[in-house]
Amino acid sequence: MTWGLSAHARRLITLAIAGLVVAVLTRRPEFAGLAAPAVLLLAARSARRPSWITVRVSSLDDRLVEGVDSAVGVEIADQGRYDVELKIEVGDAIAAGPAVTVPAVAESPDQGGSPDPASPKPGRVLLPFTAERWGQRQVGTLTVTLRDSYRLTEGRAYVGLPVVGVRPMPAPLNSSVVLSRLPSRLGEHASRAAGEGGEFVGVREFVPGDRQRRINWPATTRHGTLHLSMFAAERTQNLVVIADATSYVGDVGTSSLDLVLRGAAGAITRYLAGRDRVGLIVYGSRLSWLAPGQGQRHYQRLLDLLVVQPDGVERAADLIRLPRAALPPGALILLFSPLLDPRLVEALRDLRERGFTVVVIDVLNAEPGHDASRVSRLTGRIWRLEQQAIRFSLTQIGVPVVHWDGAGSLDDPLAPYTRRAMVMRR
């Protein structure tokens, strides 16, 4: 802990010294009197300081989400008769709340005095902060400032706060794209096949061996023979989300990478809540993937993979063909991408040739900067035409491309494909 004069004390010293110097130089005693209040205040400065102070920084939330309030718990002890101000000096993309002051206690019991029952006990202080952007973030430094009752002596100590993983805020998505053909796993989507689900799909004539509890009496009365109610089988769906992390264009906070991660997190959250099996491929300088799965633990692993991407560059030339193990047959693939990497476009063509149903959510919301010159305008126009051509070629091979600006929910761009089951064409 570093002890020293406060800024207030330094100003009082300046006033006192300047007054005394002017009094001597000008031989005017009233200037010495002018310095008197400052000298008296400085003379009352506390000389006794606590020899130590105990600061315990308690657990942070280990699963932070960007834009969601969190807090650091701090416990202070042995502060003596000093007010303690706690403040977080924030790191990059972290916003902290105002400083919190823990009032002084009358006397510490271990210093020979008895605690004042009227003064509040030192306790656990919650210092709020918000991570404004996803990623691995250093929360900052906790500055502990001790002040005496005259505000003339200050002690400072600094406690480093840990690095936390901040997850992207999932984009709102309340509907889901469901394929017409679903794998034979019990789930919550009504499939074409008849089964034991709850959605009524029609009636048929009774055959020996059918369960009598399914007899549809209105139809039986109309036809004169026994008829049964038929229900759709309920199946799960395999979804693979591909997050294109190769490009970073646009403003910080609304860049293509921000939208890719938020969209991917939203899709993962929505489909896992619907008891589907969800996998993830992060398509960056290096390929990272998790095979489809279910459950809360799998959800946490998927979101961790979005934020904590492995370092290094490898197999950059071989990323055209995505791993077979990450793509179960018949899976629906949602790709979040600005479609600026030609290798990914080739990978999409390959996926389509392998029979997968792919929906591309285009998150490109920026253009290359250009000036007013004719050549610059021309290059900008050519660039836009190229982008349009890429999207057109994808739609021609059966890959729908929808645009999402990141401002609204994902339901709007995906609406044409969420109203009814999406038919898979080969």
């Binding site: 800024a7 330094r10 400052a38 202080v125 902060f129 009752s149």
Partner: protein
């Protein structure tokens, strides 16, 4: 007693201090800044009077005092509004950050105090005029402190006896300065009485503070 800005943290029965929920940036204490600005203006104006009888150099002292007064108020007002550091700042952003940092770290209040005292010394002012300036300067420094820390004015309650004692000493010094110039008679007698009362009052206030008020 807490010293945070509004809204204050809530202390519950088990000693847990709950911070306010809002994460809005701490607002500068407007009342304290306004008080500091008023007192700074009053200090400079008071020290510059009377304007006609100033010696050489008074104009420079006025300019320096005004610049530092403005600087100190700007420093207080901008304390809570420092720009966020970006990963790739532009040249303009870096220049702005350097300028704001210079504004933030420069000792404006200290230089202003020195300039105002120099300005006062360059005028043939009466002793009571200088004593009033001293009280105003002390008020300015206390207002700057409150504005800087965002603390409520109640934190100064413990300092009131000392400030009063200092004011008494100032009164004594004014009397001492006025004595040689005063002719013998009732006025001189009154000043001596005031000085004696001041000494007694200072003793009555300072001795208990030193005996029991020190940590």
């Amino acid at each position: 007693m807490t010293a945070s800005s509004t809204p204050p943290p809530m202390v519950t029965g088990n000693g847990t201090v709950h911070p306010p929920r809002s994460l809005r940036r701490k607002r500068a204490p407007t009342a304290a800044i306004a008080a500091a600005a008023l007192l700074a203006a009053a200090d400079v104006c008071w020290a510059a009077l009377p304007t006609g009888s100033a010696r050489a150099g008074a104009r420079i002292a006025v300019i320096v005092a005004v610049i530092c007064a403005v600087g100190s108020i700007v420093q207080l007002a901008m304390a809570g509004a420092m720009p966020r550091a970006t990963s790739l700042p532009s040249v303009a952003e870096r220049l702005t950050a350097s300028l704001l940092n210079g504004l933030r770290v420069a000792p404006w209040a200290e230089v202003m105090v020195v300039a105002v005292l120099a300005l006062e010394a360059l005028h043939p002012a009466k002793p009571w005029h200088t004593a009033m300036l001293g009280i105003a300067l002390l008020g300015y420094l206390l207002a700057v402190h409150l504005a800087e820390t965002g603390a409520p004015a109640g934190v100064l309650r413990a300092q009131i006896p000392l400030i009063a004692a200092g004011a008494g000493l100032s009164a004594i010094s004014v009397g001492a300065a006025a004595l040689p110039g005063l002719p013998a008679g009732p006025a001189s007698f009154v000043v001596r009485v005031v000085a004696t009362v001041g000494v007694v009052a200072v003793g009555a206030m300072v001795i208990p503070t030193w005996a029991g008020g020190r940590d």
